[in-house]
Amino acid sequence: MGTGLDFEGPIKEIEKTLKKLRKQQEEKHTIEVEQQIRELEESLRKHRDEIYAKLTPWQTVKVARHWQRPVFKDYIGMIFTDFIELHGDRTFSDDRALIGGFAFLGRQAVMLVGHNKGKDVHENIRQNFGMARPEGYRKALRLMKLAEKYNIPVITFIDTAGAFPGVDAEERGQAEAIARNLYEMSQFTVPIITVVTGEGGSGGALGIGVADAIIMLSNSIYSVISPEGCASILWRDAEAHSSTAADALKLTATSLLELGIIDEIVEEPLGGAHSDAQITAVGVKKAIQKHLKRLKGYSASKLVHKRFEKYSNMGIFNT
């Protein structure tokens, strides 16, 4: 954890100086320092603009994984009201890495499901860094089926490095749990909206990501494999080639919009979602409301039909 963003170097330097000057100012106010602070603030804004306006895919990966980036629970608090968490898959246990429950979006009742990354080491150990086991996917399925029964939309939040790769997960059928969700989600008669807020890690992300509308934050990523994993397989060197792999995989929101895989990008404030969570949440909320309004216009059978067509059309090949 706590992987600093090396490309933020100049920003960090300025922030440090600013902090010092502000403290100085508190103790003894002077016009010169006041002037210095204003200049530094301006320069900070400029640096942020410049750096964040042209992040490379690999830098975007680092922003998407930033430890201060808002997590699912933050979004629940900022966008929804009256969240009531529902626990357990009724078969094995309650996976803390993937959580969900009823909530309200304005006056609309919804079912929320999302990867539960933590904000510090303790939370992350308890919540397995948002890497779910089969029981997590099965709980998600239970909750989504409940949403279908109660006729309310499902909103899922993706933020995971991937499904947990462990002996216990394999033993209890990680593959089956994910496959079952893809299978069932394709036939749900209520709208499904997915928001990728951080890392979209392969099958573990897709396991709650079959949706009528897929929204991505501008610095989030969604990939078939991690750049490190790809680099170690195809370049035989994860250290040296993760950046190359991140380029090649086309895992940024912009690329995925071009490829027709996602439906909308929500712009983050300059400096990334972690620099202003509130503004980020406002953008996410607006996008959800927009798609919900559109999707609520469809009958159940039309909705399923359109989702089937959407996924049928995914893929690029020759004939």
């Binding site: 499904a163 947990f164 790769p165 462990g166 002996v167 997960a169 394999e170 033993e171 209890r172 059928g173 990680q174 593959a175 089956e176 994910i178 496959a179 079952r180 893809l182 299978y183 069932e184 989600m185 394709s186 036939q187 392969s202 099958g203 897709l206 396991g207 990501g209 079959v210 969604y222 990939s223 078939v224 494999i225 994993g229 790809c230 397989i233 195809l234 370049w235 035989r236 080639h241 090649a248 995989l249 086309k250 895992l251 995925l256 490829l259 895989i261 989702r307 089937f308 996924y311 049928s312 995914m314 893929g315 690029i316 090949f317 020759n318 004939t319």
Partner: protein, 275 residues
């Protein structure tokens, strides 16, 4: 020294023409015997991988196979280039060496006079990876089943998603599952046969959601790679981990069926289907 090496090579070539080395027991098996046993080692009984058309010929009634959508082949939507070169060149190479256009062959045919739609994956084609074209052929096969009310049987053999197609590959998991799920709405049977190996994105999609999941003896089946798990948990895994037998024990496979019995078992299952 020179002539010695050359002689060695020539001898090896003669070997390759006549003999197959079993990947499991390392014994040399007469090629004809290997072929006659459908790539099951006569010595140790382990299962070799089968090329798609060979699998079709031993599974369907002779002369009944009609191929569907054989013209579909991979595009290079991401213009992917890795350390070994471009995806485009890799595809051309493998199309030439295998004579296949994609990692799956699909079509219609009969098993003991029962009409079916089949899909057979071929590991030789980029490790049987699930590309856009692979997913499209599975979708079209499932749609054919749906339209004509014919049972669908897919033989999986795949390392998982095809990285070179990025997220387009991942989305084939959702696409194929959607196609299979739709069969339920018309009560069209779907039998999944998992052969060695069925892992990653293929095990986590269409291969694992059969009405019936059948596996071949000893097949490697699982979600995460062995190495990844070992790195995560920091100790060695049991020998039978992620084998067909392990999955049967844990409840994810209906039956392990020897290659020689697959026609009989599929016939039995489909006889229980009361259309």
């Amino acid at each position: 020294m020179g002539w010695f090496t050359k002689n060695d090579k020539e001898e090896q070539k003669v070997h390759e023409d006549l003999w197959v080395k079993c990947p499991q027991c390392n014994k040399h098996v007469f090629k004809e015997d290997w072929h006659n046993s459908h790539s099951v080692c006569p010595n140790c009984g382990c299962y070799g991988k089968l090329p798609a058309y060979e699998r079709i010929s031993i599974t369907l009634d002779p002369g009944t196979f009609k191929e569907l959508n054989d013209a579909i082949y991979p595009a290079d939507p991401l213009h992917f280039v890795d350390a070994k070169g471009s995806y485009r060149d890799r595809v051309e190479e493998v199309r030439k060496s295998t004579g296949l256009n994609e990692a799956i062959v699909t079509g219609t045919g009969k098993i003991n006079d029962i009409s079916v739609v089949v899909g057979v994956m071929d590991f030789r084609f980029l490790g049987g990876s699930l590309g856009s074209g692979t997913g499209e052929k599975i979708l079209l096969a499932a749609n054919y089943s749906y339209d004509h009310h014919l049972p669908l049987i897919i033989f999986a053999a795949s390392g998982g998603a095809r990285m070179h197609e990025g997220m387009l590959s991942l989305m084939q998991m959702a696409k194929t599952c959607a196609a299979i799920a739709r069969l339920n709405t018309r009560k069209v049977p779907y039998i999944s046969v998992l052969t060695d190996p069925t892992t990653g994105g293929v095990s986590a999609s269409f291969a694992m959601v059969g009405d019936i999941n059948i596996a071949e003896p000893g097949a490697l089946i699982g979600f995460a790679g062995r190495r990844v798990i070992e790195q995560t948990i920091k100790h060695k895994l049991p020998d039978n981990f992620q084998t067909a037998e392990y999955l049967l024990e844990h409840g994810f496979i209906d039956a392990i069926v020897p290659r020689s019995d697959i026609r009989k078992v599929i016939t039995q299952i489909l006889s229980s289907y009361n259309r």
